[in-house]
């Protein structure tokens, strides 16, 4: 798998999805279920996922939007 492709896939994940994949990777490596070559690849993906999660957490936009009933404001 090309490195660039991995990075793009990961950056589209939500925090919850990223954590789920990360947990799976760590589990696989710890169980010893994969060959050495694959585990290096998974390690790289794991690091990319961790980086992505950290990035999400450090984005503190603190956005608040107002929504109201459709009948009141005619907004959707």
């Amino acid at each position: 798998m090309v490195k660039e492709e991995v990075k793009n896939d990961v950056s589209k994940l939500t925090f919850e999805q990223a954590i789920k994949e990360l947990t799976a990777i760590v589990g696989k490596i710890e169980q010893g279920e994969i060959a050495l070559g694959d585990s290096l690849q998974q390690y790289e993906k794991g690091m990319t996922l961790i980086k992505h999660c950290r990035k999400i957490l450090q984005e503190a936009e603190k956005r608040i939007e107002k929504i109201a009933s459709e009948q009141d404001s005619g907004k959707s």
Binding site: F15, V26, I67
Partner: protein
């Protein structure tokens, strides 16, 4: 008849008199306490009942318009305070207590109503754990339903952003007390559910700040309870102070004891999660590092084995065997010569012991005979030894692979790899070959036909 003039009253006159007496002797409005009995809620909406104590019974009426305002459910045996006025109901010749408002005698009306509501809704399964929806672990969008003016909104927002600022908040203002508030909040919940394919909210927070039981009453109303129960989006209730529990709290999928605790329930702690990520990072690196080390060790072990350290060892072993054989042969030859010499000496000594000079006269022939016999024996021994030596020499020469070359055989090798060609299959068309002839002469050639 006597001079007595008997006053004859009509029924109506008596009735009117009694009414007058009542009106002048009883306050226009009074509060009476007693136990409800014979309770009847007529289809017209009016209530007919009696208030009684140990000694007496007071018939009561409550018009529907007044009864509407009663929040609790009156029932037989319940002690109440009734406020209203007493009047004569002429058509039936009785006095009645027209009750305008009533309160439970033991606890507050609202408190009683709350307890009755909890029992009823619980029996209907509205508070069942099994029905409660799980909250998302890492919500991305949170809807907040609360008053625009209260402090609750700011408290909720702060409690969330302090822990998990990477979330988007959506504010839907609603009234949180007063007439119709419960219905408006319920309607807002249904509205958000309906639009959620566009809004994509993960969880809702419904709440308000602290207040009296009256202030919080909207969150005890059935219409709101049902809207929370039916909501497909999970709902967190965040109402009032720590000690306040409302019906909304019991129905909701999760409860924050106050609006300031909403964040703790709704979102995780960013710092904790960052720490966990670092721990995972270390674990991952550690695991892979161990795997690499293990592989490295295995590689080293393989490299350290004699096969890799000394690839020529098998060749040298054979060479050594050859050398040893040569040495052995030389020794064998020496031993044989030494043996032959020994033998010769023995024979000589035998001859000497025979004292040949005394025997000489008579045994000249015998001496000559012996001499020739000794010569013959020695010659024979030496001859045999020489033959054996030659035989071994030939054997050794025969073992030398290169001796074969003297007889005209050659060794052909692939020039590129130096491997010996034993069969036509070992070469390809066009391969370059090296051929070794006797005397270490080499010629180079190319395969043109096979």
């Amino acid at each position: 008849m006597a001079n007595q003039k008997l006053k004859i009253y009509t029924v109506s006159q008596v009735s009117t008199l009694i009414k007058t007496v009542l009106e002048s002797n009883l306050p226009a409005r009074l509060t009476v306490t007693g136990q409800i009995s014979d309770w009847k809620l007529h289809s017209s909406g009016h209530c007919y009942f009696s208030l009684k104590d140990e000694g007496a019974v007071l018939p009561c009426v409550m018009w529907g318009s007044s009864f509407k305002k009663v929040k609790f459910k009156p029932e037989n045996g319940l002690a109440i305070f009734g406020t209203g006025h007493i009047d004569v109901y002429s058509p039936q010749g009785k006095y009645q207590f027209y009750v305008e408002s009533m309160q439970p005698a033991g606890v507050g009306a609202l408190q009683l109503a709350f307890e009755q509501m909890v029992k009823r809704l619980q029996a209907q399964g509205l508070f069942d754990e099994a029905h409660k929806r799980p909250l998302p672990r890492y919500p991305e969008r949170i809807g907040i339903l609360t008053s625009e003016s209260g402090a609750a909104f700011q408290d909720i927002v702060k409690s969330i952003f302090d822990r998990w600022p990477c979330v988007r908040l959506y504010f839907y203002p609603v009234p949180v007390q007063g007439e119709g508030a419960a219905e408006k909040i319920a309607s807002a919940i249904r509205d958000v559910n309906q639009r959620n394919d566009k809004l994509k909210l993960d969880v809702l927070i419904v709440g308000r700040g602290g207040g009296s039981l009256e202030d919080l009453w909207a969150f005890n109303e059935e219409v709101l309870a049902r809207a929370i129960y039916d909501s497909k989006i999970p709902i967190i209730s965040a109402v009032g102070h720590e000690v306040d529990t409302t019906i909304a709290d019991l129905v909701a999928d999760a409860r924050a004891s106050t609006p300031t605790k909403a964040g703790v329930v709704a979102v995780p702690d960013r710092r904790e999660v960052l720490e966990k990520l670092t721990a995972v990072e270390r674990r991952l690196a550690g695991e892979v590092g161990s795997l690499l080390e293990l592989a490295g060790q295995r590689l080293e072990t393989i490299c350290a084995s004699s096969v890799f350290r000394n690839p020529l060892l098998p060749v040298w072993n054979h060479q050594q065997q050859l050398d040893e054989m040569g040495g052995t042969l030389g020794e064998l030859m020496r031993d044989m010569l030494a043996g032959a010499r020994e033998k010769l000496r023995e024979i000589y000594e035998q001859v000497v012991r025979l004292e040949p000079h005394r025997l000489l006269g008579r045994n000249e022939v015998a001496v000559n005979d012996l001499r020739s016999r000794a010569n013959a024996a020695v010659t024979a021994l030496l001859g045999r030894a020489a033959m054996q030596l030659t035989a071994q020499e030939n054997r050794l020469a025969g073992l030398n692979p290169k001796a074969v070359l003297k007889r005209g055989y050659t060794i052909t090798m692939l020039k590129q790899t130096g491997t010996v060609v034993k069969a036509a299959a070992d070469v390809q068309m066009g391969d370059l070959l090296m051929t070794e002839l006797a005397g270490e002469n080499l010629i180079e050639s190319k395969v043109i036909k096979k």
